[in-house]
């Protein structure tokens, strides 16, 4: 049996149900045993602007999307204008035949830069600026067209079910589009119906009309559409498979590892995590009374951070979750947490900067900002997860690091991870160990919070325990925590705090610092969400007999200089891959390691990397045809 690797794309105006359509399709695929990797792209807008969802489906484990689209379903004109050229020869487009006369100028959400590029393309091919013109190009390329009048489907459906209300219900277009796709691909109608029931379980009336529409459209496709090159009959389901969205990894990790307090301020793409935590605020605890996560929406990110620190001082595992602009506001407090040795976790879902930048788009933009965040010298940890599954377990580790080393931990996530939908192995809570470090439950007389100790870490009291009184201050202090401007005390305190950076490198296991996927002549260094596209690209190259090494840096501050040096000793050519303009990891690397980087593969369009792009650029590098700096551009 040849392996399945199929990509489906659905698009439409924001608010038109693209997302729930995508959810239904993803779930059906997962129920049929496939591995899926989906990504959401959307504007900073509530309703009307173009959004789309790409779902890659395979019978193998996949970690990214690819450039090629095999089947596109659209119920608006804009999706066709923007994505027609992604559909490959032999692929198909299911579209609303009532749209054929629409001109580019009729779609007011098509921005000028894009429209001008499109017009040039159409002009060069001598085609009119209409959907019909676009579809001609697709057809000439070998794309199969599946025109359907969505309006007549609704009308026939209304007649058949004797429910005239259905006739004008354009909100059903998403379910129609999804069901037409499933019918064309001869996928299981049973799973379609099961999924609709699950997704609309709280709204039985809506579930029912969706079922009717799904049924009708599915049958329409099987009866009316000509045969298609691709079929998705299903495959053996791996037991214990989850279908999860990006923000769930860190949220579930926080529940499991005992984070019980999370103040936050709304910001894309971070707030979904906090909302999910609050939605699941009541927790079941094994052999104990119920627990809870107190989630507070604050007035700004400064308050989120201040409250999280206040919570941490009570011994509660406390965190906040934000993105670049919010993290920028938190940096004064980060220093306060640093000088007062307060363990907190800041989950940082990066997006494209600077300033508000591309508010809903991807970027690994804040590595250097996070490493250097805050004025003055203080120890902190910057730790990056490479995928959603990892982020669950890493969250547990981040809280342990915070407690053991008594430092703020910045857990780097990003929009790519936040907006992905994946299948993965069920998370195993029993793998989450909990180490509170030197947190005290009982304190004896004469306690001093910042007592000098052999390892530079003082036993930590918490607000409210007997004899545990301590003082904190953002000023330099003595061992009791009272202000001290004594020069000798200053040096001792600074040395005590900063010695922790070495301790962190010594105590965190190598395998948690850097993950090596093999070292070859050509070896990639990268961090965070670039992992998925890299792994898939390396697999593609391997099939051609090309082996490229890859190390994923997870601990980015303090920088694991010795270990990275050791790993790379046999690598001849180093390639840095990351999603930002200035190659921030590359800069950090060169700051710590006396070695040059040979190639940079960077992307800063705000769109996520595909494995196709990484594959292409690696190929160019190996063939000695690449520029030192390769910039990736794929994605609408």
């Amino acid at each position: 049996m040849s392996s399945v690797d199929f990509t489906w794309l659905i698009g439409g105006p924001q608010g038109s149900g693209v997302e729930s359509g995508a959810n239904i399709f993803s779930r059906v695929c997962a129920e049929m045993g496939y591995q899926v990797f989906g990504k959401r792209e959307f504007y900073s807008n509530i309703k009307g602007e173009h959004s789309y969802f790409t779902l890659r489906i395979s019978d193998q484990k996949i970690h990214s999307t690819v450039n090629d689209v095999n089947l596109m379903v659209s119920f608006d004109a804009e999706t066709i204008f923007r994505h027609f050229d992604e559909v490959i020869s032999g692929g198909g487009i299911i579209y609303d035949s009532d749209l054929e006369k629409i001109k580019t100028d009729d779609v007011n959400t098509l921005d000028d830069p894009f429209k001008n590029r499109l017009h040039k393309d159409l002009e060069s091919k001598n085609k009119p600026f209409t959907i019909a013109g676009i579809l001609e190009i697709a057809k000439e390329k070998g794309v199969l067209l599946f025109p359907v009048s969505f309006k007549s489907i609704l009308a026939s459906l209304a007649e058949e079910t004797e429910n005239p209300r259905l006739k004008g219900l354009v909100r059903m277009y998403n379910v129609i589009g999804v069901s037409l796709s499933l019918g064309l691909l001869k996928m299981s109608p049973d799973f379609l119906h099961k999924t609709i029931d699950i997704i609309f379980s709280k709204k039985p009336a809506i579930a029912e009309i969706n079922q009717q529409a799904a049924n009708y459209s599915y049958n329409y496709a099987t009866a009316k559409f000509e045969s298609f090159n691709y079929l998705l009959p299903g495959t053996e389901k791996e037991p214990g498979t989850l279908l999860v969205q990006g923000h769930m990894g860190t949220a579930l990790g926080k529940m499991a590892c005992g984070c019980r307090f999370q103040p936050y301020y709304p910001i894309t793409p971070a707030s979904d995590e906090s909302v999910y935590l609050e939605t699941n605020e009541l927790l079941e605890i094994i052999d104990d009374r119920p627990g809870s996560t107190v989630v507070i929406q604050t007035e700004d990110e400064i308050c989120s951070m201040g409250m999280a620190i206040g919570g941490a001082l009570t011994g509660t595992r406390s965190a906040t979750c934000t993105s670049g602009p919010g993290f920028a506001l938190m940096t004064e407090m980060l220093g306060w947490a640093g000088i007062n040795e307060v363990p907190i976790v800041i989950t940082n879902y990066q997006r494209s900067g600077p300033s508000t930048g591309l508010p809903t788009r991807h970027g690994q933009d804040d590595l250097l900002f996070s490493v250097f965040a805050g004025h003055g010298d203080f120890p902190k940890i910057v730790y990056a997860s490479g995928d959603i599954e990892e982020s669950f377990y890493d969250t547990g580790n981040c809280f342990n690091y915070a407690d053991i080393f008594q430092v703020p931990v910045i857990h780097m996530m990003d929009k790519f991870l936040a907006s992905s939908v994946i299948t993965c192995k069920r998370f195993d809570t029993q793998k989450i160990s909990i180490d509170r470090g030197k947190l005290l439950e009982k304190v004896s007389d004469g306690y001093r919070r910042f007592e000098f100790t052999d390892d530079g870490i003082s036993p930590r009291s918490r607000l409210g325990i007997d004899n545990g009184i301590f003082w904190n201050t953002g000023d330099e202090s003595d061992e009791t925590g009272h202000i001290s401007e004594d020069p000798i005390m200053r040096v001792k305190m600074m040395d005590k705090r900063m010695s922790r950076l070495d301790l962190i490198l010594k105590k965190i296991p190598d395998s948690e610092q850097v993950v090596s996927f093999g070292i070859e002549d050509y070896t990639i260094i990268s961090w965070g969400s670039a992992k998925g596209p890299i792994i898939d690209a390396l697999k593609m190259l391997k099939k051609e007999g090309i082996s490229i090494g890859y190390i994923q840096l997870k601990l980015l501050h303090p920088f694991p200089t010795d270990y990275v040096n050791f790993l790379l000793k046999d690598a001849k050519t180093i390639i840095d891959i990351e999603a930002n303009y200035s190659a921030q990891l590359g800069k950090l690397f060169k700051q710590n390691i006396a070695r040059d980087i040979d190639y940079y593969v960077l992307k800063y369009t705000g769109r996520v990397m595909t494995s196709t792009e990484i594959y292409d650029s690696l190929k160019k590098i190996i063939q000695n045809k690449a520029n030192k700096r390769e910039v990736l551009m794929h994605g609408a």
Binding site: I285, I286, L313, W336, F427, T429, I434, I465, W471, T473
Partner: protein, 320 residues
């Protein structure tokens, strides 16, 4: 064994200027804590930045000296995570009503059960006397190069408008009265606010101790009278007696009007007290029934070094 006043003092050297109004406030806080018989290790003082920020170092309870303008954020976080603590936050008027004004307003909306005391002297003392938000328009304290160009914030008015449920004003040289106000504020179930008028002998040469004492005011009988008077001595009733919009609005507007008095007559005492608004922990209890019995700080999060949280139902719902 009952704690004495001395038990609430630390031996940290106090470096405030001689004659500073802050001394009276710290004494009043210590007296109030001793009189209430609070447990030192169940009490925490949070402070902001500036001269008043040092307060937490002088009081022998847990003490957290935070950042400029941010004291309420830390304090609320600690109180929400551990509702067993008695939490008092202090800071200057620049701290709370300038850089921290946003947090002041938001804190009012939350009504967390704790106390906030502003040391209100009209100047930024520790940075050498710039105008603070409570200094009046056109006034020129001694280190200002030119008269103040900003209108003043009305701390009492802002507090009642923001939802604080106990709002009072004290005077740092009437320590006993201030101590009584602090006790009422701490005992109030909700967010209490105390605006404490406090002369800065070094930089505010307008609102001085003599000025408050009214040494420049002489009545017909050639008798001096203080500018400060006590609301409770004039039959002012600040309490919202029942939960009705009319009653609340009346008491709220009355306090607002009263707060505008300034100049030759300056009221101190309780301006507003409303027990009909739910404190934050009650709002949390509505969502999390055992919040107070098993608060974030009390929760046991591990068993034999492993997670004890059972998320299997959530995982089941995600499983395909």
């Amino acid at each position: 064994m009952a704690l004495k006043l001395a038990d609430f003092r630390t031996d940290v050297h106090n470096d405030w200027c001689a004659g500073c109004g802050d001394f009276g406030i710290v004494n009043a806080i210590q007296m109030a804590l001793a009189e209430m018989g609070v447990q030192r290790d169940k009490t925490v003082m949070f402070s902001g930045i500036g001269c008043s920020g040092k307060t937490s170092h002088f009081i022998n309870t847990y003490g957290v000296h935070t950042l400029h303008g941010r004291v309420l954020t830390f304090a609320q976080g600690a109180k929400i995570a551990n509702p067993e603590m008695t939490v008092i936050a202090v800071g200057g008027d620049g701290d709370g009503l300038g850089i921290g004004a946003g947090h002041f307003v938001a804190a009012g909306r939350r009504n967390v059960d704790m106390t906030y005391i502003i040391f209100d002297n009209g100047v930024y003392g520790l940075t050498k006397g710039q105008a603070s938000p409570t200094l009046r328009l056109g006034e020129q304290t001694k280190s200002l190069p030119s008269p103040n160009t900003n209108y003043n914030v009305n701390p009492i008015g802002l507090a009642v408008a923001s939802g604080f449920t106990f709002v009072a004003r004290g005077y740092s040289y009437d320590v006993r009265h201030l101590k009584d106000l602090i006790i009422q504020a701490v005992k109030h179930k909700g967010l209490s606010f105390l605006d404490v008028l406090q002369p800065c002998p070094t930089y505010n040469d307008i609102n001085t101790r003599d000025w408050y004492a009214g040494t420049d005011l002489v009545d017909e009988a050639q008798k001096r009278h203080s500018r400060i008077y006590k609301l409770e001595e004039r039959g002012f009733d600040p309490v919202v007696h029942f939960d009705s919009e009319v009653e609340i609005n009346e008491k709220l507007s009355q306090s607002l009007i009263k707060s505008l008095e300034w100049g030759n007559k300056i009221p101190i005492g309780v301006f507003y007290k409303n027990d009909t608004i739910s404190p934050y922990h009650v709002r949390l209890q509505d969502k999390i029934p055992n919040y107070l019995e098993n608060s974030p700080a009390q929760q046991n999060i591990s068993k034999n070094g492993r997670s004890n949280t059972d998320i299997s139902k959530i995982l089941d719902s995600l499983q395909v």
